[in-house]
């Protein structure tokens, strides 16, 4: 427990100290569409699609599947969601953002019967330069029979500064926690991320040796 508190303090300090980058953003650009699929080490799987009428907000939906690593319970949540760019700082050699989102959908679970209305809310803060980045995301899902929060911290380092039309490469360390009996403790993962043009792919392993991967398209 004390170790977890220490790790949390270190991670928080890292976010505050490191110039916060190549972060997956829920709002792309005006007229842009983002499609994303994530495989989270067998614990979570998520598909999302958002269209941004403005660079300030996007609308769309997603599907989240959770498989508890603790007791095998499952969640299947389909939702419609609006994402909002609350604040952006365009600095000379960096960019920082704060996003928030909210939505509603329906959920099924292995430990309750039928279908329930489920709410979704969350926020993300990120900072990036061409060499380092950090992002902290918190995603909250709530219904009559369950409450889950998924917190994800990512710290990334680019071995070289990519140009616009060249392949970007990042080495990323990810820490993720789940509440509500989905996973015990903090799930650590090491990832390699690459993107070029509108295609983004990342893959790696968790400390348990499970696959963590994401594929995203912007167009």
């Amino acid at each position: 427990m004390a170790t977890n508190r220490f790790l949390a303090a270190v991670l928080t300090a890292s976010i505050l100290a490191v110039p916060f980058a190549a972060v997956a953003k829920p709002v792309a650009f005006a007229g842009g569409t983002t499609v994303m699929g994530e495989y989270g080490a067998g614990t979570m799987q998520e598909l999302q699609a958002f269209y941004a009428p403005s660079h300030r907000y996007s609308l769309g939906g997603g599907y989240l599947k959770l498989d508890s690593d603790v007791d095998g319970r499952t969640r299947n949540i389909a939702y419609l969601r609006a994402n909002w760019l609350a604040k952006r700082w365009n600095l000379e050699a960096a960019q920082a953002n704060v996003f928030a989102w909210g939505g509603v959908g329906s959920a099924r679970g292995s430990d309750f019967s039928g279908q329930e209305v489920a709410g979704n809310a969350g926020a993300q803060a990120d900072y990036e330069t061409r060499r380092v980045y950090a992002s902290l995301k918190s995603d909250f899902h709530d219904s009559r029979d369950f409450t889950h929060r998924i917190d994800t911290l990512q710290l990334g380092f680019a071995p070289y500064e990519h140009e616009y039309d060249r392949l970007a490469l990042w080495v990323v360390v990810q820490a993720r926690t789940y509440t509500g009996g989905i996973y015990g403790g903090t799930e650590w993962a090491a990832l390699i991320r690459g993107f070029k043009g509108g295609t983004w792919i990342e893959a790696g392993v968790t400390e348990d040796g499970n696959l963590q991967a994401m594929l995203m398209f912007n167009f």
């Binding site: 660079h55 000379e92 990519h162 039309d165 912007n218």
Partner: protein, 109 residues
């Protein structure tokens, strides 16, 4: 030095856009190629756009205009804002975009 000038001239002639007007914009927040594609997508919607260059290294967005075409500074600033970025300076030059592109590539090596 002389060789590089000859090469630049050759690029210019080969590109066939000698004398074309190029608008150069200095842009803040330009750090991620994946995120910056909205800039190119938005600028290419202008009928007067002939070509677009984005350089993260130089914090540069450049657009070459078709013969007789023009895009106002306000429209360009708004377009960059819609892509999510902040324009800090705009100026027009006779430097062909092909030359700028070579300069950017040269700087990246």
């Amino acid at each position: 030095m002389k060789i590089s000038k000859v090469l630049l001239l050759a690029v210019t002639v080969l590109a066939g856009d000698a004398g074309a007007v190029t608008v150069e914009m200095t842009v803040n927040g330009l750090v991620c190629g994946f995120c910056a594609q909205g800039i190119e997508k938005r600028l290419r919607k202008f009928p007067a756009t002939a070509d677009v260059l984005v350089s993260l290294e130089k914090r540069l967005v450049a657009i070459s205009l078709r013969d007789g075409g023009d895009i106002g500074d306000e429209d360009l600033t708004r377009a960059l804002e819609e892509a999510g970025y902040a324009v800090k300076a705009i100026h027009r030059t006779d430097t062909p975009i092909a030359v700028l592109r070579e300069q950017v590539r040269g700087a990246g090596k």
